[in-house]
């Protein structure tokens, strides 16, 4: 933790940490504190005064049908995004890992969508599935399927899941491929000599050795699905139809900025804060373990 050789001085180091401490205090701790403080009040309709309600906002939220629905929507959405993007990425990484030549080329071809913003991914998929001009919608129509994610809740969910997972495949592919390439070839070849076929080798050797990567990606992807997919949802469905795609972050935004319900929005922020902290703790626990082993 500590350097053996350190420089002398008290004011210089304080001066050096000052910019970061100031920015963190003003734009992080103060707003986070405000969120916790505001979550204990409800403002009057004119915004002139605040009334103390204690945990009232939380009690209200937890009994609110829409909030509970948003929790379930978030759970379904995050699980689907995580499973789809990790599944496709793992499949492609396994294929690329089997190549002697060319895996680098495929890596280059597959990693760059990482740079595509979730909001832009949303616009791209919206364009393909647009009810009026979408190409995919039109071909589905030829097959007799009437696609309309503006009205159909399941289709709306499917579209935001695919658009969110699509942009995430590169990231997962990169980590899976690195994880696969770190597995010693000799171990796998020894199993092959013993007559183990691909699936046996995968189940008994590759998958267990890959599990640290898989676990890490699981946590990171859930965090991604919780927060960074806001752009996808805002561009494609705006949380609709009938709040079918209103995930928790979207609800903080729509209650706080569109609905101007500050107390409730602050309470929702605090709940999200707790969820992220838990996920972070899980991740650090895991990293600690990885360092020790």
């Amino acid at each position: 933790m500590e350097k053996r050789v350190t420089f002398k001085g008290i004011w210089l180091p304080l001066l050096l940490v000052l910019p970061q401490i100031l920015i963190t205090a003003i734009f992080f701790f103060y707003p986070a504190g405000q969120a916790i403080w505001q979550s204990l009040f409800i403002p009057d309709p004119f915004g002139l005064s605040m009334q103390w309600v204690g945990l009232g906002n939380f009690e209200y939220l937890l009994s609110d049908r829409f909030y509970r629905a948003s929790f379930i929507t978030t759970a379904v959405f995050s699980i689907l995004v995580t499973v789809v993007s990790m599944g496709v990425a793992l499949y492609l990484a396994i294929l690329a890992d089997r190549l002697i030549k060319g895996s680098g080329t495929y890596r280059t071809l597959l990693i760059w969508p990482y740079a595509v913003a979730p909001a832009v991914a949303g616009v791209l998929w919206l364009f393909m599935f647009n009810t009026r001009v979408g190409v995919v919608t039109w071909y589905l129509g030829l097959l007799g399927y009437d696609w309309n994610h503006v009205l159909n809740e399941g289709e709306a969910m499917g579209l935001v899941v695919v658009a969110s997972a699509w942009g995430r495949i590169s990231y997962n592919f990169l980590f899976f491929l690195a994880g696969l390439q770190a597995i010693p070839r000799s171990v796998i070849e020894a199993a092959a000599i013993d007559g183990a076929h691909f699936w046996t080798r995968f189940r008994t050797i590759v998958w267990p050795l890959l599990s640290p990567t898989t676990f890490f990606l699981l946590v990171v992807n859930i965090i991604y699905a919780f927060f960074e997919t806001f752009g996808v949802i805002h561009t494609i469905t705006s949380g609709g139809p009938q709040q079918a795609t209103t995930i928790l972050v979207y609800k903080v935004y729509s209650d706080g900025f569109v609905g101007q319900d500050l107390g409730s929005s602050a309470a929702q922020s605090v709940i999200l804060l707790v969820i992220v902290s838990l996920l972070t703790v899980i991740q650090f626990k895991y990293i600690e373990r990885r360092v020790h082993y």
Partner: protein, 284 residues
């Protein structure tokens, strides 16, 4: 490369199937972007009478120049400039304050060091999305709505970069600082002449990641830039859709989408090694 080929790699038919699977994957990744590109090169009537063509048309120049110079709410060239400014501000700002604070935390003993360390540590991974309403109020009180400071400063308040530099500085041999001290060089001299040049690769890798992070921001610019001339390109695309039942100007919107992708994609592909390094390091 024959000497490297083990017995578990595929040959013959299996090899072709492997390539086929990968090509299907690449096609799935590329298809939406290809369609967007095609849409940005054809005229509006070709799109509103589906199915749209699947090969590029001849309206490339018209659509892109219309987007860049006129746009719909604001010229896209202006939005590109805003995005560039915001992404550079976030990347450079975060790297600068993190280098300084990591240097102080690793190379000095001073009162409150532990406290500062934990204060910075606490900000790890709590995204701005979680505290949007109060952060918005802070920015509004400072009069920073529709300003670059407002776009940049709240997104600099995070500890990932500080952590990374701290870890890297811990691996720098003690002899270097020792030698600097014996030579009578002050701490800042050591920082600029030895530590900074040694951190070059780490700085570059982090820069790539932070640039993309800054460029792709959506919610925050959406909240604080109500003036179209301050919109960033990523959030500005959605603002180009008409409200109500009017038909969107798809060729211009798709040209803007392509323009929004080009800078970060160039950064990722052009600096692939640094990008992968930055990604792996910053997630450790």
């Amino acid at each position: 490369m024959a000497e490297h080929s083990g017995m578990v790699e595929k040959r013959g038919a299996g090899l072709w199937l492997t390539h086929l699977g990968l090509i299907i994957g690449v096609a799935f990744i590329f298809f939406p972007i290809w369609l967007a590109f095609v849409a940005s090169t054809v005229s509006q009537p070709e799109i509103v009478r589906p199915p749209m063509p699947l090969l590029p048309g001849d309206q490339f120049f018209e659509n892109y120049s219309k987007a860049l110079t006129a746009g719909i709410n604001a010229p896209v060239a202006l939005m590109l400039g805003n995005s560039l400014f915001m992404a550079l501000g976030i990347a450079i700002g975060k790297i600068a304050i993190s280098l300084l604070s990591a240097f102080a935390i690793v190379y000095f003993k001073f009162p409150g060091k532990k406290l500062f360390f934990w204060l910075i540590f606490l900000t790890l991974m709590l995204p701005v999305e979680v505290r949007i309403v109060p952060t918005y109020e802070v920015i509004a009180n400072f009069g920073m709505l529709n300003s670059y400071q407002g776009l940049i400063l709240p997104l600099i308040a995070s500890a990932t970069a500080t952590f990374l530099f701290r870890q890297f500085f811990m691996t720098v041999p003690d002899e270097l600082a020792e030698a600097a001290r014996v030579d009578g060089a002050g701490p800042m001299r050591f920082f600029f002449d030895i530590l900074l040049p040694m951190s070059r690769t780490n700085i570059a890798a982090l820069f790539v990641i932070l640039f993309i992070y800054g460029w792709n921001q959506y919610l925050w610019p959406l909240l604080i830039t109500t003036d179209p001339s301050m919109n960033t390109i990523v959030m500005g695309i959605k603002q180009m859709f008409p409200s109500g039942d009017d038909i969107a100007d798809w060729p211009v919107i798709m040209a803007t989408s392509i323009l929004a992708m080009v800078p970060p994609v160039l950064v990722v592909v052009g600096m692939q090694k640094l990008f992968i390094r930055g990604l792996v390091e910053s997630e450790k």
